[in-house]
């Protein structure tokens, strides 16, 4: 059976520690652009932790929401790309083919979540930082868009390992870097086509909502949050 990868984010568990952000950066060879370019809005974060504040001082509550590509089933980024750089793959992922991208940035404008990032310059890794580059992830050159892939290289590795053992991929076999790095287990990844998987169960949870669901993008990330009874 074809896989359909999805994620669940338990906002009640998220502490806003940004371990996911760091893990993602290390795994996916995300360029660091430097302080000047970061101040000009060129920083790249495939996953970010959004902070929203509730209430008046001193009774302030901080809400955290990790936002990555929602891997929408009806993704607005896909039809607008003139070169099929942004396209839907067989497992429901919004793939970004860097070599097809010519940098119109239309996908990023169409994306309601602002999770697509542009490479404004060729990425540079000062020695010895280049030694920590992940050989499984391609580097992106200047002028292309990049975004969260759900760690497609780990998905491929997980499937390969399962195939080598002549078995199906088990729930929990594959963990994107952010999921693996999350100390409070707020992030859960798995196959939405497997009704027994944890992520399928969480996707059905009454605590679950989709981000900007009304836009009709059909995201594959479910956010879980308990309703507070005062």
């Amino acid at each position: 059976m074809a896989h359909r990868w999805g994620m669940a984010v338990d906002l009640d568990r998220c502490t806003g520690c940004e371990a996911c952000v760091t893990a993602c950066r290390a795994e996916n060879n995300i360029p660091t652009v430097g302080d000047l370019q970061a101040s000009r809005g060129r920083a790249i974060h495939w996953i970010r932790v959004e902070r929203y504040f509730e209430g008046e001082f001193p009774d302030v509550k901080v809400n955290y929401r990790p936002v990555m590509c929602q891997q929408c089933d009806a993704a607005p980024c896909e039809p607008v790309c003139p070169t099929y750089a942004s396209h839907h793959n067989d497992e429901g992922l919004n793939a970004q083919v860097y070599n097809r991208c010519i940098g119109t940035r239309y996908c990023a404008n169409a994306c309601p979540y602002n999770v697509r990032f542009f490479d404004f310059f060729n990425p540079v890794w000062e020695k010895p930082m280049h030694l920590q580059l992940n050989p499984d992830v391609s580097l992106r050159e200047v002028g292309v868009m990049e975004k969260c892939t759900f760690c497609v290289q780990r998905i491929a590795a997980g499937k390969d390992a399962a195939a080598a053992d002549k078995r199906e991929v088990k729930d929990g076999d594959i963990k994107p870097a952010c999921v693996q790095g999350c100390p409070s287990k707020a992030l859960v990844f798995g196959d939405l086509n497997d009704p027994e998987s944890e992520v399928s169960r969480l996707a059905e949870s009454p605590r679950g909502t989709k981000l900007l669901e009304d836009l009709g993008t059909a995201p594959k990330v479910t956010y879980l949050q308990g309703v507070e009874h005062a």
């Binding site: 097809r100 990023a108 836009l215």
Partner: protein
């Protein structure tokens, strides 16, 4: 008009035959600015797109504003000329060519921006469907691919539409020159001998082009508006965008035409040809378009206000009363208040009045496009990802260079081609020779 045929040709061919020192200085000046623009673009390609002010999440800025603006300017010429030709308005004769040439050059400039703004401009040809090693077609669902086809169709059509009525004039110049000039103009005249047969062919071709180019012109700016309205972005995703863009395009185009005509009239001493009546008529047209633009803008904003969508209303507020409000109200002033006041009072609807209103409209329409592109992108759905944008030097230089490029191309064109169609002016003076009338008669017979 009482000019004799010879005086007419002498007046209109004067710029081709005599070149002042000032002309070279002016061309060199404009050429320098254009060269600066090209340098900025190449520097930007070499160093990376980061030299612009584009930033997350405002991924389109000045360059896309320029794109929409110039495509808009291009709507004056061909469309107005085609309509005036079809209704056979007598006063069109001195106006058509200087209008059509705006279209050709504005499209060339506007058409460059989708390439300039690319992250990898050297791969722009991937938008073309051609058999390739990558075994992939362009994505025909993408409005950018529609753009590519729309603009190339419109450019081809406009160039033909511009070129056809120039053939008899090229022949005239050929017959009055010698040497290399004669060879060049002879080649451009395509063997024109002025036989009845050739006249009929020309009239028929012009009629076909005039009819064909109108739907093309309307569709082009609709498709440009689709670049925005197909994306689920607050205040972009709107059905009004198609007609709103077309109206805005014609509006800015007429303003551009008035400025060009007034400049030609002053510089080339064409008061006898580009008369007050032309400015009077175009001024009325500009007034109509100003009112139409005001109506569309009011409509667009009223529906947003009443719809009160969370994201829409944020974009609405920042343009109406927030950080973008100075630009917004300047736009309203120069696109609506000023032109309506100047152009609806007959005493103010002079050449100078029309030019002042037109300059306002050109500025206002550029601002309009900026206010469509930037505030929406800066205020999408998640407030955490709201952003800002301000241009950086390369974009500003490139923008300035396009205005210089337009002026330069226009200056060169007026130097090498009679900017007013000589044969059409003659035909207007002696209606018995008006072949347009003959062909219309024939058209009537075939319908009877």
């Amino acid at each position: 008009m009482s000019t004799s045929g010879d005086r007419l040709a002498a007046d209109l061919l004067r710029p081709l035959n005599r070149t002042g020192a000032l002309w070279y200085v002016f061309v060199a000046f404009l050429g320098t600015i254009v060269a600066c623009g090209l340098f900025a673009w190449f520097f930007q390609m070499w160093r990376g797109f980061g030299l612009t002010g584009i930033r997350w999440p405002v991924y389109w800025g000045f360059l896309i504003t320029d794109f929409v603006f110039w495509i808009g300017i291009s709507h004056a010429g061909t469309l107005i000329s085609a309509i005036l030709r079809l209704v056979n308005a007598g006063w069109r004769r001195p106006v058509t060519r200087c209008a059509e040439v705006i279209t050709a050059f504005a499209l060339m400039i506007g058409g460059l921006f989708p390439i300039i703004h690319l992250g990898k401009p050297w791969l722009f040809f991937w938008l073309m469907p051609y058999p390739n090693q990558r075994l992939i077609w362009p994505n025909f669902r993408s409005p950018l691919v529609w753009d590519f086809f729309a603009i190339s169709t419109y450019l081809t059509g406009s160039l033909l539409f511009l070129f056809l009525p120039m053939i008899p004039d090229f022949a005239l110049v050929r017959d009055r020159t010698t040497g290399v000039k004669r060879t060049i103009y002879g080649a451009l005249a395509l063997g024109w001998r002025g036989t009845t047969h050739q006249w009929h062919r020309l009239e028929t071709a012009m009629q076909i082009m005039a009819i064909a180019i109108i739907p093309v012109a309307v569709s082009v700016h609709t498709i440009v508006s689709f670049d925005f309205s197909m994306a689920p972005v607050p205040m972009w995703h709107s059905t009004i965008f198609g007609p709103y863009f077309v109206a805005g395009a014609i509006f800015s185009g007429i303003a551009g035409l008035i400025i060009a005509m007034a400049t030609l009239r002053k510089v080339l001493h064409l008061q006898d040809y580009l008369q007050d009546i032309h400015f009077e008529n175009l001024g009325k047209l500009l007034l109509t378009m100003s009112l139409l633009w005001g109506y569309f803008t009011f409509n667009e904003r009223l529906t947003t206000w009443y719809g009160n969508g969370t994201a829409e209303i944020n974009t609405f507020r920042v343009t109406q009363s927030g950080t973008f409000s100075p630009l917004f109200w300047t736009m309203v002033l120069v696109n609506f208040v000023l032109p309506v006041i100047i152009l609806s009072i007959r005493r103010l609807r002079t050449v100078t009045g029309c030019v002042i209103a037109s300059i306002g409209v050109v500025i206002g329409m550029w601002l309009e496009r900026y206010l469509i592109v930037v505030p929406s992108l800066a205020h999408k759905y998640l407030p955490y990802s709201w952003g800002t944008y301000s241009p950086r030097p390369t974009e500003i230089v490139i923008t300035a260079a396009t205005f210089a490029a337009m002026t330069l191309l226009y200056t060169l064109f007026a130097k090498f081609v009679p900017i007013i169609s000589i044969w059409e002016m003659r035909a207007g003076e002696r209606p018995e020779e008006d072949l347009a009338a003959v062909s219309e008669q024939r058209l009537g017979e075939s319908h009877a």
